[in-house]
Structures are given as structure tokens and as C-alpha cells.
């Protein structure tokens, strides 16, 4: 019996569960225009995991990085949900990400 995959699966469940929370909070406090930074951070973490000798730590980092990339594609839809009134809408001015004008011209990814 090899518990490696099963335990990684359980960790994936927790990390994805955490994703539901940070996407909602992230959209509320930062706004969906931060998506390229979240995506970039996720990609960096996935690249970094290649250099980690421990299988456990490398795999957990990979799962976390992938969930950041996925979550970054959910931010736009979460912004729409908040504007429709399904989630709390943050009426205050949120911090603009660096190069916000460029980011506004990019189509926010959504899967």
C-alpha cells in the first residue's frame, strides 16, 4: 500500500477548498484586475517545485501553484457575481495593480 497519492489527494481537497475562500476575499479586497499577478505567482511556484528535492514538498507546492493559476481565472467571474449582488460588493476604492491600464486591455481569462 502506498499512501502518497491518497494523502496528496486529501491535501488537494484542502487547497482547492482554500481556493474558494481566497478567490472571494481576493476579489473583494483587491479586485479582479490583479489576476495576472496571481497567475504569475502560481506559475513561479510551479517552476520552483522542480528544484525541491523532497517529493512531498515539491508535490504540495505544485498543487498550490496550480490552484493559484486556476483561481486567477475565476476572479473575473467572481467580480460579476459581486456586481450582480450574489456576493458582498466592496464599495471602497481598491488598490490598483501595477500597470493597471495595460491589464485592462487584456481579456481576463475565464474557463
Amino acid at each position: 500500500m502506498n499512501f502518497f497519492g491518497l494523502l496528496l489527494g486529501l491535501a488537494t481537497l484542502l487547497i482547492i477548498g482554500l481556493g474558494f475562500v481566497w478567490v472571494i476575499r481576493g476579489e473583494y479586497y483587491l479586485g479582479y484586475l490583479w489576476w495576472p499577478y496571481i497567475m504569475g505567482l502560481g506559475i513561479l511556484i510551479v517552476i520552483a517545485c522542480l528544484f525541491v528535492p523532497s517529493n512531498w514538498i515539491s508535490a504540495l507546492l505544485g498543487i498550490f501553484g496550480a490552484s493559484l493559476v486556476w483561481g486567477s481565472t475565476e476572479l473575473k467571474e467572481q467580480a460579476v457575481r459581486a456586481e450582480i449582488g450574489w456576493y458582498p460588493y466592496n464599495p471602497t476604492t481598491r488598490p490598483a495593480p501595477p500597470y493597471v491600464d495595460k491589464i485592462k486591455n487584456w481579456p481576463a481569462p475565464h474557463i
Binding site: 500500500m1 508535490a59 504540495l60 493559476v69
Partner: protein, 138 residues
């Protein structure tokens, strides 16, 4: 320096598992007359994948099966959540699906239109705008 590929396998499996689940749960729930059949199939497949993870000695295969299996088990739950979304109007109902036509009849919130098929505006939408979206004017 030798690279450790296990993390990349875990990352790609996580992303693909979530992606495949996200798309297929929506498509299957849209056309399926029942929720319990696709949900039960996902539950069965998920358990099989986890058993596969337990018996495979290869760490790459064990990680792949274990992670993908969990996303499939999550999908089993998502079929029910998606049904609830259709009931609340948060996901579009299919007028050709008898289960959805029942929801369209019994739930005032359910609708065939997709509320989320739009871009953010940067402000909270007014009641007037929400009505315009509902009536297909916006």
C-alpha cells in the same frame, strides 16, 4: 542538478482535474434528467482512482491518481451544487431537460439565461440594470 518532476505532475493533474470537472459537471448536469446518476458515477470513479493510487508503487502514478481521484469525488458533490445553482438562477436552466423545466416551473429565481455571461463594470449594478439584463436589454 537533477530536477524533481513530481511537483509538475501534481500541478498539471490538479489544473486538468479542476478544469475537466468544472466543464463536464456543467455540461452533464445541463442535459442529465437525474442528478444521482452522474453523481453516483463520479463517486464510483473517484473511489476507483483512489484505490489505484493506493496500490501503485510508482510515486508519479500514485500522485496523479490520488489527485485526479479527489477532483472526481468533488465533482460528485458539484452535480448537486450545480442543480441548486440552476434552482437559484445562478446557472442557466435547460428548457429541454425535464428536471430543469420542473425547476423553471417551481422556482421563481430559475432562468434559462446566464447571469455570468458578461464583463465586470467596476460598480454595483442597480435594480434597473439587473431588470434590463433579465429582460435581455443589457
Amino acid at each position: 542538478m537533477t530536477l524533481n518532476w513530481i511537483g509538475l505532475v501534481a500541478a498539471v493533474t490538479t489544473f486538468m482535474g479542476v478544469w475537466i470537472g468544472h466543464v463536464s459537471v456543467r455540461k452533464i448536469e445541463y442535459i442529465s434528467p437525474t442528478v444521482w446518476v452522474p453523481s453516483g458515477v463520479a463517486l464510483f470513479l473517484g473511489v476507483l482512482l483512489e484505490l489505484g493510487a493506493l496500490v501503485s508503487e510508482n510515486p508519479y502514478l500514485s500522485a496523479l491518481l490520488g489527485i485526479f481521484g479527489v477532483t472526481v469525488l468533488w465533482d460528485a458533490l458539484e452535480f448537486w451544487r450545480q442543480h441548486r445553482r440552476v434552482e437559484k438562477g445562478h446557472a442557466p436552466a435547460n428548457p429541454d431537460n425535464p428536471r430543469h423545466t420542473r425547476l423553471l416551473r417551481t422556482s421563481a429565481m430559475s432562468t434559462t439565461m446566464d447571469w455570468l455571461d458578461r464583463n465586470p463594470t467596476g460598480r454595483l449594478l442597480s435594480t434597473e440594470e439587473l431588470r434590463a439584463i433579465q429582460e435581455g436589454r443589457l
